[in-house]
């Protein structure tokens, strides 16, 4: 009985695949462009891609592979596929920090032959950053992302602009029992902690890795920035538990109305407007705080498309990228999903300015945003920084001693890589 059933099933399967193969071969001489995207992007671009596939059905068909939700898991999947001699994908949607690593590994095609300086100039200032490696463009921006300061409009007239103001307002509000905590951010030992630190570091006038490849973690601004974050926890302005908080935990606490300020990415805005949010309609968005005399700076997030070297149809792949990042697509994605646009034109669009309360704040944030150090060894040095910051935030050790250690380990990593070249 059993072998018989198996036999029938296998016949059925093979005939199906035969039919499927035949029908594809018959109706579409078109080329297939395969894109790997993190799950949320795969879902939100569905409309756009369906439309494209209908309009171009004789030419190009886009297939989207819905990757995992979490950023780094997408990277794991992408890397596993790139390690194959022939990746199944033509286009990857990649995070800003992956680019130098992927480009150095030789996995990406340069986009220079398809773009002009004029195209580049149309992109908003912040979004222009983080797309190049060794002066070649490898990535076309799709969605901009940057760290923002969320503040409670119902508790204060205007948001703080300096570090001390933030502490002062927080302390007052806690004392008046208006809120339980002043400021919540991401303090877990993970990439988000590096993003938070970088913003504070710029606020103190410091730098992480300079253009010449020198590390500056042992300098006074770096030590001050780490001390400031530690002080927030020590003074009770930030909850102790922040050292295991990533974005969802911070958002949850802010959403419950128990905190005056939150550091988060633009996605938090639409979450805060949901009916379940206690602070709905009471939230303002602005750029980070900084010490007097320094400019506020946001860490640049941002996703963009890259074409894989082994792609058979890079020309068509670029057409797909152009379509997905067109003004029309950007507007659609912003209005429907709140994805921060990358073209400066959209930030000046009267319609959008009228309809979105945060577009100006987003533009300001994007203008002052800076990418994280652009080196193929970024993941290593960020990992070192995360570990040591976590040590500072959760332990009693001397801050400057720990930062010095982070500094020398980072230096070792960069130097041993240099000597291997």
């Amino acid at each position: 009985m059993k072998p018989k059933v198996l036999f029938v099933i296998s016949i059925l399967i093979s005939s199906f695949t035969f039919v499927a193969n035949k029908s594809v071969a018959k109706t579409s001489p078109s080329k297939h462009i395969n894109i790997l995207m993190p799950a949320p992007f795969a879902d939100s671009t569905k409309d756009l891609i369906n439309k494209f596939n209908v309009e171009n059905k004789d030419n190009i068909i886009i297939n989207v592979t819905r990757g995992p939700l979490e950023t780094e898991s997408v990277s794991d999947l992408a890397i596993s596929s790139l390690m194959l001699e022939k990746s199944p994908f033509d286009i990857l949607l990649i995070d800003v920090t992956w680019l130098p690593k992927y480009a150095a590994a030789g996995w990406l095609s340069s986009l220079d032959k398809w773009i002009t300086q004029e195209d580049l100039n149309k992109i908003a200032i912040g979004a222009q950053k983080g797309n190049k490696f060794k002066n070649k463009v490898y990535r076309w921006p799709f969605v901009a992302d940057m760290g923002l300061l969320y503040w409670r409009k119902d508790l204060m007239e205007k948001p703080p602009r300096t570090n001390n103001e933030l502490i002062k307002i927080s302390k007052e509000l806690i004392q008046k029992k208006k809120v339980k905590y002043g400021y919540v951010w991401q303090g877990r030992q993970y990439e988000g902690l590096s993003c938070v630190f970088l913003e504070v570091l710029y606020g103190f006038g410091g730098e992480w890795l300079d253009e010449n490849g020198a590390i500056h973690l042992d300098k006074q601004p770096s030590i001050n920035a780490a001390k400031w974050l530690k002080k927030l926890i020590k003074d009770g302005i930030t909850p102790k538990a922040v050292t295991n908080y990533s974005e969802p935990e911070s958002l949850q606490l802010f959403e419950s109305g128990e905190v005056a300020f939150m550091r988060n990415w633009p996605y938090a805005w639409s979450e805060l407007q949901k009916p379940s949010s206690v602070v709905r309609g009471k939230v303002g968005v602005t750029t980070m705080v900084a010490e007097i005399g320094n400019n506020p700076t946001s860490t640049l997030g941002s996703w963009g498309f890259s074409i894989i070297k082994t792609s058979k149809n890079p020309q068509d792949a670029f057409k797909v990228i152009k379509y997905l990042t067109s003004i029309k697509s950007q507007k659609h994605l912003f209005l429907k999903y709140g994805y921060t646009p990358i073209s400066s034109e959209i930030f000046k669009d009267v319609d959008i300015l009228k309809n979105s309360p945060i577009i100006t704040a987003l533009y300001k944030g994007l203008t002052v945003s800076e990418p994280r150090p652009q080196t193929p060894l970024y993941a290593q040095i960020s990992d070192v920084l995360q570990r040591h910051l976590s040590e500072i935030l959760t332990g009693d050790g001397e801050v400057s001693e720990t930062m010095n250690r982070a500094h020398s380990i980072s230096n070792q990593i960069l130097q041993s890589a240099g000597s291997n070249k």
Binding site: E72, S75, D76, I79, K101, A104, A105, G106, R188, Q189, Y190, P239, K240, A241, V242, T243, N244, E249, Q252, L253, P376, L377, A379, Q380, D383, Q386, R387, H388, S390, E391, L393, T394, G395, A417, N420, K421
Partner: protein, 288 residues
């Protein structure tokens, strides 16, 4: 003739287990990273030298051993109790047997995320209980001294059913008449546990220790989700360190070195734990 018959199976095993192992050993003697453009370049054991001087590797080894030792021994004790209970005849036993297995059936990442929210401050239930008692905040996952205990708890919760199942199977192989004879000779229940049950269970206990030690040494998903290796690297395991080097840093040479290095450590510690266990063998067994 028999040798010929097992040849296909042996070849398959060599192919599946042998080739990756050899490949890793080979890679551990090469620099293969984003700096070399992912081309392996022989580097005369530089990776191994780096491993021996790598404080983080030894710290992670210590943390992995600590995690494995505590979680496996806790699991063993609790599982023995559960197995003994489930071996008795009582109403609703089958239902309880099924429920006991539930944690084991749950995907680790899902349950690890669950634990992360359970331990969350201020919204997790544990925090609520601590507050009700009137204590200050607990913050177990935010403290480098305690976070690893939370991961042990997560592991114990999930894998105790697995050991309980093995031990239960073992209990069912012990003939009842042994107990009857023991009682006729005047032995108590408590004595029966140490003189019959545990000695007869020995092979099953050994089996579960080996299984679980190997798993616990390779712990990855639970910790990755619960703490990501933090705070201050206090929960990072060898597997996480190897993963970071391979997938995040694209340093495949050094990642292979870490893997082979931890493989050697695991083999030695497994042999050591079997040796330890055999020492305890001297518990006097009962025989007719």
């Amino acid at each position: 003739m028999i040798g010929l018959l097992i040849l296909p199976a042996a070849l398959l095993i060599i192919l599946i287990f042998g080739t990756p192992l050899i490949r890793y050993i080979w890679l551990s003697f090469h620099a293969s990273s984003v700096i070399t453009g992912l081309v392996p370049i022989a580097n005369k054991g530089a990776n191994w030298q780096r491993l021996i001087n790598d404080q983080r590797f030894w710290q992670d080894s210590f943390q992995t051993f600590r995690f494995a030792a505590l979680s496996v021994s806790l699991e063993l004790f609790i599982a023995l109790a559960i197995a003994l209970l489930l071996n008795q005849k009582w109403r609703g036993r089958n239902l309880v047997r099924a429920i006991t297995l539930l944690p084991w059936a749950l995907p680790t990442t899902v349950m690890a995320l669950g634990w992360r929210w359970i331990f969350n401050t201020p919204y997790g239930p544990i925090e609520l209980i601590v507050n009700l008692i009137g204590l200050d905040q607990f913050n177990i996952l935010s403290n480098p001294n305690t976070a690893w205990l939370a991961t042990v708890l997560g592991d114990v919760w999930k894998t105790t059913p697995f050991i309980a199942l093995i031990l239960l199977a073992g209990l069912q192989t012990i003939p009842q008449d042994l107990y009857e004879a023991f009682k006729l000779e005047g032995g108590s229940n408590k004595e029966a546990l140490f003189k019959i049950t545990i000695p007869m269970l020995k092979p099953y206990i050994l089996l579960s220790i080996l299984f679980r030690l190997a798993q616990a040494f390779g712990v990855f998903d639970l910790i990755q989700v619960m703490t990501g290796g933090g705070p201050a690297g206090s929960t990072e395991s060898l597997a996480i360190y190897a993963y970071l080097n391979a997938m995040r840093f694209l340093d495949f040479g050094y990642s292979s070195t870490i893997m082979i290095g931890s493989f050697i450590l695991i083999v030695f510690s497994s042999i050591f734990s079997i040796y330890l266990f055999n020492k305890f063998k001297n518990i006097q067994g009962y025989s007719r």
